[in-house]
């Protein structure tokens, strides 16, 4: 009876795991089948003979390497810039002696978390066109950097506020000005929070679809999510090849997740609660 009681939760949870993981397996199995016919005749398991042609074809047809590199560099650059600007602002409002102005600036930025992004899409599109940078990567980097600022400021400011005041007293005694205090003392101490914020911002940029889809039309500039949708639309009759494409685009995230899962889970959930 006790043993049964212990297994029942596991039965439910295993069923849930199956629902989560089996779609990935389904795609993985499909990706080594020769064609749609092969998938239809044996949908659930591995095929009799495994072929890797789909991976070769998908890599070439889907231009995965181009999209992958675009996403990587836009994601990393934007995340780093948001962190730099957000850390500077967080330092100024939490550690410098301008209480009143700082409170107003901080409250305003908090408001940013309430504003639904969708309603900003068109005006930002208009701004990008006015600046004449539509169809360049700048049209994504600028909004991505800006978009991550409220969240980054909130997390970094909370962290910097918790640092003891003695640290900067000692630093100022030693003759450090605010600039060197920021670079030499505060930033190194804030690294744990910076890592969290970086992961959240990077994943957000890496996965972003709406802006990337409408602000760029040149195929060479596309990011991975948009490129994958384009690939699907172009080759949507060949599901085996499409599965290989899905594997290519899912794999890097899975590998990063396998290595950094604790940090990712902590960061992403922290980020959402603050919002």
């Amino acid at each position: 009876m006790r043993a049964l009681k212990k297994t029942i939760p596991h039965i439910f949870l295993m069923a849930y795991l199956l629902v989560i993981l089996y779609p990935f397996l389904f795609v993985l199995f499909s990706s080594v089948k020769t064609n749609n016919q092969d998938i239809a005749s044996n949908p659930f398991g591995l095929p009799g003979s495994i072929t890797f042609d789909n991976y070769v074809n998908a890599w070439v047809n889907a231009k995965i390497s181009t999209y992958f590199f675009n996403s990587l560099y836009i994601g990393v650059l934007s995340a780093c810039l948001s962190i730099l600007f957000a850390a500077m602002l967080a330092f100024a409002v939490t550690r410098m002696r301008y209480g009143k102005i700082s409170a107003i600036v901080f409250q305003l930025i908090l408001l940013g978390m309430l504003i639904p992004n969708n309603s900003l899409l068109l005006p930002i599109y208009g701004m990008m066109r006015k600046l004449d940078i539509l169809d360049t990567h700048m049209a994504l980097i600028l909004p991505y950097v800006a978009n991550a600022i409220p969240f980054s400021v909130i997390i970094l400011a909370a962290f910097m506020r918790s640092l003891p005041g003695e640290i900067e007293e000692a630093a100022v005694m030693d003759g450090l000005g605010p600039l060197r205090l920021f670079v030499r003392i505060i930033i190194p101490l804030t690294v744990p929070a910076i890592v969290t914020v970086f992961i959240v911002n990077f994943l957000g940029n890496w996965n972003e679809f709406l802006l990337a889809n409408y602000f760029l039309s040149d195929e060479e500039l596309r990011t991975l999510p948009v490129g994958m949708v384009g690939f699907r639309d172009a080759y949507n009759t060949n599901y085996a090849q499409m599965s290989a494409g899905i594997i290519f685009s899912v794999l890097p995230v899975m590998i990063i997740y396998a290595i950094l899962q604790e940090k990712i889970i902590e960061g992403v959930t922290a980020g959402s609660v603050k919002g």
Binding site: L13, I20, V27, M96, G112, P116, A146, Q261, V268
Partner: protein
């Protein structure tokens, strides 16, 4: 001490870059959206005509607009009535098992870090009527093929299922963290008093994690109002507008058919609806549960 940290020039240098970006990409766009929403601007030409509230009137008289609002409401209802109970159920289960806890947590969370676009493609394959996983499994039970994404009566629910598949685990991990943070003594005391596992869950654990469940509902509502990429990737709002949400409706008019002024009116409506729902929820429901430190 204070002197060293009161340097107006450096203060400005530190605050301005982020603050200017914030103003340019959050505050200014709201005002341009409001301004443009009163015009018949096509988004390109130089001359802009102000037409008062015509765009809003057009939207309010368009059945397709209300359909898109209804679909946003479906998103919210599906999250609150179906996902939230599942989230609570599974987080309680994971919190109470001794083995494999880590595996469950890691696995259920995984879909939420993936690109919604790729998830949409993956599920488009699962929903394929001829050899997708969904129909193959139903076929085992003798059910005839369902045209998930091309049948008006199934398309919306198919998207909702995919959305739930991606996000449920994310919220499970949030609630799970709250459950694990509850001091063990409470549960132990209840167990000594003879409370069964079910009673402990209902009377102790759930009331204690109510604040975080409330946050989950808030986030689901915000997520429901943001939903757009999943719809665009899976159905593009079709068949016949049956899966349009407000954001995809807006995009269709503003970017695809160059009715920029009208699109901005929809953007303003999305903004207003989101704020109204958020505030209503806070005032009506969230107030009764404990305040959470943000």
């Amino acid at each position: 001490m204070n002197k060293a940290l009161r340097n107006p020039l450096i203060y400005l240098l530190f605050v301005l870059p982020a603050f200017i970006l914030f103003l340019a990409f959050f505050i200014y766009p709201i005002f341009t959206a409001i301004d443009n929403s009163f015009t018949s601007w096509n988004g390109i030409s130089k001359d802009v005509q102000y037409i008062g509230f015509d765009n809003y009137a057009t939207a309010f008289h368009d059945a397709a607009f209300w359909k898109s609002v209804r679909n946003n409401v479906y998103f919210i209802l599906f999250s609150c009535l179906i996902q939230v109970p599942l989230i609570v159920f599974f987080s309680l289960l994971i919190a109470n098992v001794k083995k494999l806890k880590g595996l469950y947590k890691t696995a259920v969370f995984m879909p939420s870090i993936m690109s919604t676009a790729v998830i949409g493609i993956l599920w488009g394959f699962i929903y394929n009527p001829d050899f997708g996983l969904a129909n193959e499994i139903l076929g085992l039970f003798g059910v005839s093929p369902v045209y998930w994404l091309s049948d008006k009566s199934w398309a919306m629910i198919s998207i909702l299922i995919t959305n739930a598949w991606q996000w449920t685990g994310f919220y499970i991990v949030m609630v799970l963290a709250a459950i694990i943070a509850i001091p063990r003594e409470l549960e132990e005391a209840a167990a000594i008093d003879g409370a069964t596992g079910f009673q402990r869950a209902i009377k102790i654990t759930i009331p204690l994690v109510m604040p975080i469940i409330s946050v989950v509902i808030m986030l689901s509502i915000a997520g429901a109002m943001k939903a757009a990429d999943i719809v665009l990737v899976m159905t593009k709002g079709g068949p016949a507008g049956s899966t349009d949400v407000m954001a995809t409706y807006m995009i269709r008019y503003a970017i695809t058919s160059f009715r920029h002024g009208f699109g901005n009116a929809i953007a303003v409506l999305i903004f207003v609806f989101t704020i109204v729902i958020t505030v209503l929820y806070q005032v009506l429901i969230s107030r009764r549960t404990e305040r959470i430190e943000y």
